[in-house]
């Protein structure tokens, strides 16, 4: 079903609420001089919660397209919308008591957070190349500003500059790919592109050109998901950006990037066939992405081994995780896609948690160096144990949620008979264990001579840490709802 502009508004409440939130925050920032520091976070939180509520209430029946085919509304998009809004809420709460952001004016930060969330929701929905590019650009532009938010900090400025330069180049490459695709099919609508490609049967040199399209567009999506070889910006940007922004970048735009990648490749360049998809003959895009996935996890993990700055180490770790997540997307099966969604969902809590501990420690210690984490267990057992749980989860050790993600991903890969791919992933997980354990070793086993002064954590931060810990611990027991939810969420418009 295709809805026109007016009818579509009924299914557009979350986005409209966010848009209203942006405007309200901008106005209250000017109008309420004295109260704005209290009102703005509440307004932002209210907008995000209301949008989440509306998203959960959305009952769209079967999959359809909105706004004359610009957006696709299906369970897949709804999963990502819920995911992104939850990520937005958690990051907002995590940024409230951050010393890094305390010294700067906060008003715009909230407006930008709402804007980037709006952009990501649209990314998850886009079914049209124009909309896809525009939402990607909205997210990128807002991220550049958020990364450079600490204006008097040289590292923050450098990070923003690098992000813009890499972003411009990779988006340019992606647009070139889109233009080639348009030239071959005469359409910008993903489903029309697929129909055109199927109708003309891609033969001869068109196969080569379509592979070029795959490589070029992967540059754009790879930039957003920080996949090798488009990851060069990632360590510097993650190190320079304020930590709450880093936490946000490592989860939300990455997930939105995967949503857009899956939709582009599955809806545009493949056709559904029973329980799975087939790529358009002669254009083996999964092979390109398998190579990217292997490179991404291997390089990310190996580079993380030698890092001594926590933010930098977690940056490389998030690159490696992009590799694991990509494993699910290239399988072209329902179970692969489901595994990817499960992995993303647990990754949200474990990665945000790890970054959040880094934020809390920076608040009182003003440092990101691993050396300075020595003796943290004696100073704040709670923090050290919380960090250990997040790290064990990131490794994928059984009692914690991360294991669930790895189990689904490797299971789906083995189902497809790609044993070597699963082995590469498992070896990588073993390498990753080394540097995650290194953080734990510094926090728990190594002590320096100073007397252990207790570390102060604000009540809000403590509550948020517990909130992030709960899913990491209980998901392994209560995995059935997640299993059902993700199994429902693999329905894409125009396929399966």
């Amino acid at each position: 079903m295709n809805l026109g502009n007016l009818d579509s508004l009924t299914f557009f409440y979350p986005e409209l609420i966010l848009l209203g939130g942006i405007l309200l925050v901008v106005i209250s920032d000017i109008a309420l001089k004295g109260l704005r520091n209290r009102v703005n976070p509440l307004l932002t939180l209210a907008a995000l919660l209301l949008a989440l509520f509306c998203t959960l209430q959305t009952d769209h029946g079967s999959a359809m397209t909105l706004f004359e085919g610009m957006l696709a509304l299906d369970n897949f998009a709804l999963f990502f919308k819920v995911f992104l809004l939850v990520a937005g809420i958690l990051v907002l709460l995590g940024s409230l008591h951050s010393e890094e952001l305390a010294s700067v004016h906060r008003g715009e930060f909230h407006a930008l957070l709402l804007a980037v969330t709006l952009g990501m929701l649209l990314m998850a929905n886009s079914a049209h190349l124009v909309m896809l590019y525009l939402s990607l650009e909205l997210v990128s532009l807002t991220s550049y500003i958020m990364v450079g938010y600490l204006r008097s900090d040289r590292l923050s400025n450098e990070a923003s500059m690098k992000y813009i330069l890499f972003g411009a180049v990779s988006t340019g490459a992606m647009l070139y790919g889109f233009s080639l695709l348009y030239g071959m099919t005469g359409s910008l609508d993903l489903f029309a592109i697929r129909d055109a490609l199927l109708a003309q049967e891609v033969v001869g040199f068109n196969q080569v050109t379509l592979l070029l399209v795959v490589v070029l567009t992967t540059a754009g999506f790879g930039f957003k998901t920080a996949a090798v070889p488009f990851h060069f910006w990632c360590p510097d940007v993650y190190t320079g950006a304020p930590t709450p922004v880093t936490a946000f970048l490592s989860v939300a735009p990455k997930a939105a990037g995967f949503a857009i990648l899956v939709r582009f490749f599955l809806s545009g360049l493949s056709q559904p066939a029973g329980e799975q998809w087939r790529f358009i003959s002669g254009v083996d895009w999964p092979l390109v992405l398998i190579v990217v996935s292997v490179l991404t996890m291997t390089l990310g993990n190996i580079a993380a081994l030698t890092q001594n700055n926590l933010k930098r180490m977690l940056a490389y770790s998030s690159i490696a995780h992009a590799g694991y997540i990509l494993m699910g997307a290239v399988l072209l099966t329902g179970s692969g896609l489901k595994a990817m969604l499960v992995y993303l969902f647990v990754y949200l809590f474990m990665n945000l948690g790890a970054f959040f501990v880094v934020t809390v420690i920076f608040n009182s210690e003003k440092t990101f160096e691993l050396q300075d984490y020595n003796g943290m267990f004696r100073r704040s057992p709670f923090l050290a144990i919380a960090m250990s749980i997040f790290l064990l989860s990131l490794i994928g050790i059984p009692p914690f949620a991360g294991f669930l993600g790895k189990l689904y991903i490797f299971g789906a890969v083995i189902d497809q008979g790609l044993y070597w791919f699963a082995v590469v992933g498992a070896l990588n997980a073993a390498v990753a264990a080394f540097y995650y354990m290194r953080i734990m070793k510094h926090m728990i086993l190594e002590n320096d001579d100073r007397p252990p002064t207790p570390l102060r954590i604000s009540t809000l931060n403590r509550a948020l840490l517990i909130l992030l810990l709960v899913p990491n611990i209980v998901l392994i027991v209560f995995w059935a709802p997640i299993d059902r939810w993700t199994a429902n969420s693999i329905t894409l418009f125009g396929g399966l």
Binding site: E68, H128, L138, L141, S152, V208
Partner: protein
Amino acid sequence: MSVTDVVFILTAVVTVGSAVVVVVSRSLIYSVFSLLFTFFGVAVLYVFLGADFLAGAQVLIYVGGILVLLLFGVMLTHRLYNLNLTTERFQPIAGTLIAAAVFVSISLAAFKTKWKLVGDRELEPTTQQIGEAFLSSYLLPFEIASVLLLVALIGAAMLVRRRTDV
């Protein structure tokens, strides 16, 4: 060779040639001024494609707006000439190889692909079609583009804020 072909080749040479100057020139002023020719060349290419409104917008916005802003920006920097704009790591061999590979693959794709062609069309004004598309099938992108501009404005306001005004 018809007159159209000659004009097209001239435009293409000017566009690409001035774009090369933008990249290799050691003076920012030269770069910005040769960008003028690149922008104009692109506008003429739009005319060749029958996109009259786009060509006009290209001249108005890029030449009239962005280029003038760039010139102001360049005039306000203190080192205009003899800039060394190369990066610290200079890798001539790998760079050449990759550039050559990209050039060959893109040119081959341009010439050998079977494009979906619409054939010759009458030149007719496109403004009405663009306007209708903006208010019908492209309404959402049109509106989201304004959100994008709003974000850009907020970012610009943040950048120029005085340090004391927290």
